[in-house]
């Protein structure tokens, strides 16, 4: 029974998981990148996967990680999501720091349902995509980030293709992506890359892993105005973004994380707003 169920599960990095028609754009890209970059291990559940399969896959992931109840990130991965024409950023659900079979199954179901939510449907209509969304779900080991990062291989505001912009905040990425905190911003020239400008912000809030999920708390006063990256780390982050861009063949926006002195690649999207 369990073996049968696991046949549907597509593990990141394995060729079967590169198929965007089955696992969605987001997961297919990550699966391809997993071979070359430090992508947290995980699996994809094609649309319509049974709850028992999700539970079995989580158990298998736990075994591979050697942990009893590993914390995971559960994200939707739409079949036409993260294509070069529309990024879908933020339109679908993401659950961080999910632990235990029951919680994982609940979050997988919520992700599948989110493809049908009003916001996502409106986005699909606006981008001329068909309305009947098929949504795969991506489950990955959670990186307990010391610093959350977003990097663009083009200036997202001016469109300047020579510029790389790295944003960084304390903790998990939710406060950064959700916009509740002003991040440290590094601007780099793609040749090198070389640091051009650095603006250290007062970072008042951060997302941390807590209980079965996350919560946003105040950053301790002593760390608020402190740069959360060494310059060398900013350069390394920009280097990662450029490598991903080279692999993908177009400008990208990546989510990444520093944890225990290592840089992890979490997400990759095309920058769809460039003319």
């Amino acid at each position: 029974m369990v073996m049968d169920a696991l046949e549907e599960v597509l593990w990141l990095g394995e060729p079967a998981a590169h198929d965007r028609a089955r696992v969605g754009g987001k997961a297919a890209q990550l699966s391809r990148l997993a071979a070359r970059f430090e992508v947290p291990p995980g699996f994809c559940l094609p649309a319509g996967t049974a709850a028992s399969t999700a539970a079995a896959a989580y158990r298998e992931l736990a075994q591979r990680l050697g942990e009893e109840k590993p914390a995971v990130a559960v994200r939707s991965s739409g079949v036409d999501e993260d294509g070069a024409a529309a990024s879908f950023a933020g339109q679908h659900e993401t659950f961080l720091h999910v632990r235990g079979e029951d919680a994982v199954v609940t979050c997988v179901e919520a992700c599948a349902a989110s493809a049908q939510a009003d916001g996502a449907l409106a986005y699909r209509r606006a981008h001329g995509l068909c309305e009947a969304a098929e949504c795969a779900v991506l489950v990955q080991a959670l990186v307990l980030a010391d610093v959350a990062l977003v990097a663009f291989t083009a200036d997202p505001v001016t469109g300047d293709r020579d510029r790389i912009v790295v944003n960084a905040t304390w903790g998990l990425g939710e406060s950064l992506v959700g916009g509740t905190v002003t991040p440290d911003a590094y601007v780099l020239h793609r040749d090198g890359p070389a640091l051009v400008d650095r603006a250290i912000a007062v970072k008042r809030r951060m997302t941390v892993a807590a209980g079965e999920g996350t919560r946003e708390v105040d950053v301790p006063a002593s760390l608020r105005a402190l740069a959360c990256l060494e310059d060398a780390q900013a350069l390394e982050t920009a280097g990662l973004a450029l490598s991903v861009e080279a692999e993908m063949g177009h400008p990208v926006d990546i989510e990444a994380a520093w944890a225990d002195g290592r840089l992890h690649l979490l997400q990759c999207r095309p920058i769809t707003t460039l003319s």
């Binding site: 720091h97 307990l144 980030a145 010391d146 610093v147 304390w170 903790g171 951060m206 941390v208 892993a209 807590a210 996350t214 919560r215 708390v217 105040d218 950053v219 301790p220 006063a221 002593s222 760390l223 402190l226 959360c228 944890a259 225990d260």
Partner: protein
């Protein structure tokens, strides 16, 4: 008080006609003067007033050493009452901000090495001063040697106050900033939770109380001693104990305890006798402790606090697993500093306020004895009604001046001053609230902030000082001299508690104060004793009738009349 609150920022504060003010420096009226009821709840003799001025100089020294963004701290005495003003630096905002950052960096530097700062730098020097006083033979000294000793005593007392503020500024700010960090990291957890991670250490306060407890157990083993302590009033006990062998044995043990822990009077006031001179307060505490079962031994309470502390720290560390590594490092650093700071905030008072104060008092009393013998004073403790300059002149030629009339006048004056209605504030209101800084945050938590208005009839609000809910009879105690009125299991209601009040915490079921915040001495000690405390109610001593049944909710910071 009401008047002060309705004035516009920067406005001069009207002086009540019954409290005439004579300023000593031209710009004094422009400063914002506050009466610190917490440390100075009583009118001061001229000699105590002179000590207060040195205390202000010590505060200024400490503030400058850490480059705090202020010009000086002035302490003065007006109509016998202490007032203090923090004189601000008049600089453009950018420069103030830069200064603030420097002060924060200096304080954090000191906090980072707090244990070594205290053990290796400050405490050895404090001990050297104490040893210098102890080595001088007061009774056997010549007039000239005593006069020289007195001059050097003033110099060293000034230095002790400097060391005091070098010590307390980083110590209290370590505790306060650790609390700030916990509030940020563990939203929804109250201040008291961070304090649980700092409790259960063997401070000298705790050790002194353990000594009194052991004496109470010793008293229970000898029927003659037990009988005297149970039947006689505290002040009659020493003479009665002298009459039996076991009694003398007990007095001997009490004497040994007081040699170490009895160098304490009533706060910073040198004019009140120490326990060595008058052991009545210690005997009163021992009498109360004798009625307690063995299970209430302070060592057991301390061990429970230590277990609670380790459990709280383990829970915090568990939670922090989901936080960024730099946050965990900062937490560990601040925790270690705050634990050291929490002990130093008690121990510094033992060395400086108690032992240092006692030594200076002994010098002054010896001068007083010589002057009384020369008929310059009526009795030795008249010396506290002289100014230091007057004393120095009198010591130069003890037979020349007769100051008995002057002292009698000043004694009468002090009686009148004691009865005065003391304005909380004088001078000029500050232009705005102080900027948010570690120092500002600490001051709010130490001295307290105005309490919230009552939400229901028969209710008083203050700050939660120590968790727990207790009902009991209120005993309104206005000075330590009245401490005998407090019976075991009653609620101590008082304006303030300074370190000398500590033993009463072993007697009371709960504490309610007019003044102070969650980091005030009262709150800190109440948590060590595990009794509920509501601090900073502003009005408890006037609003709660003596003997009334009240409920003290130290968790919520509410007192209810029942």
């Amino acid at each position: 008080m009401q008047q002060t609150q309705t004035l516009a920022p920067g406005a001069p504060i009207p002086v009540p006609p019954e409290f005439p003010v004579q300023w000593s420096r031209p710009d004094d009226p422009q400063q914002f003067w506050e009466h610190d009821r917490m440390h100075f709840p009583e009118a001061l003799t001229p000699m105590d007033g002179a000590v207060i001025v040195r205390l202000g100089a010590g505060f200024t020294f400490g503030a400058r050493a850490y480059e705090l963004p202020l010009d000086e701290v002035r302490m003065t005495v007006i109509n016998g009452w202490q007032y203090q003003a923090i004189v601000p630096k008049l600089l453009p905002p950018e420069e103030m901000e830069e200064l603030g950052r420097r002060a924060e960096a200096n304080l954090m530097g000191a906090i980072g090495r707090l244990g070594s700062l205290w053990e290796d730098d400050l405490l050895p020097e404090i001990r050297e001063h104490l040893a210098w006083w102890a080595a001088f033979d007061l009774a056997g000294s010549s007039e000239a040697d005593l006069a020289a000793h007195l001059r050097e005593t003033w110099r060293r007392l000034g230095r002790l106050w400097e060391l005091h503020f070098l010590t307390v500024l980083p110590s209290y700010i370590a505790v306060s900033e650790f609390d700030e960090m916990c509030r940020a990291l563990f939203e929804g957890s109250a201040l008291l939770d961070s304090m649980r991670m700092l409790g259960g250490f063997d401070s000298l306060t705790v050790r002194g109380d353990q000594g009194l407890w052991r004496l109470s157990r010793k008293a229970l083993t000898a029927p003659e001693v037990q009988d005297v302590l149970e039947r006689r009033a505290a002040h009659e006990v020493p003479a009665a104990l002298e009459e039996t062998g076991p009694g003398r044995d007990f007095l001997d043990a009490l004497g040994k305890h007081l040699d170490e822990f009895g160098q304490r009077g009533h706060g910073v006031n040198l004019s009140s006798p120490s326990w060595i001179e008058d052991p009545t307060p210690a005997i009163k505490v021992i009498k109360d402790l004798m009625g307690r079962p063995d299970g209430e031994a302070p060592a057991i309470a301390t061990r429970e606090k230590a277990d609670e502390r380790e459990a709280a720290i383990a829970a915090a560390r568990e939670t922090l697993q989901g936080y960024p590594a730099p946050v965990r490092e900062q937490f560990e650093g601040m925790l270690a500093a705050a634990q050291v700071g929490a002990v130093i905030t008690e121990d510094h008072a033992y060395y400086i306020d108690f032992c240092g104060g006692y030594r200076v008092r002994c010098v002054l009393m010896e001068c007083g004895r010589r002057l009384a013998l020369a008929d310059a004073l009526s009795r030795p403790d008249d010396v506290f009604f002289l100014e230091p300059v007057e004393l120095e002149e009198a010591m130069a030629s003890p037979g020349m001046a007769d100051m008995r009339e002057l002292v009698a006048l000043r004694r009468t004056e002090l009686e009148q001053q004691r009865a005065m209605d003391v304005p909380r504030h004088l001078g000029t209101l500050p232009p705005g609230p102080p900027p948010d800084s570690p120092i500002g945050r600490f001051i709010g938590k130490f001295f307290g902030v105005p309490p919230a208005p009552p939400q229901a009839p028969g209710e008083l609000r203050g700050a939660p000082g120590s968790a727990g809910v207790v009902r009991g009879r209120a005993r309104v105690i206005r000075s330590l001299a009245e401490a005998e009125r407090l019976a075991s299991g009653e609620v101590l209601v008082t304006e303030t508690t300074s370190p000398p009040w500590t033993p009463l915490f072993g007697v009371a079921a709960a504490i309610v104060t007019d003044t102070g915040g969650a980091l005030s001495h009262c709150a800190v000690v109440a948590r060590e004793y595990g009794i509920p405390a509501v601090v900073g109610t502003d009005v408890a001593t006037s609003a709660i009738p003596d003997g009334a049944e009240i409920e003290v909710d130290g968790t919520a910071g509410i007192v209810r009349l029942v």
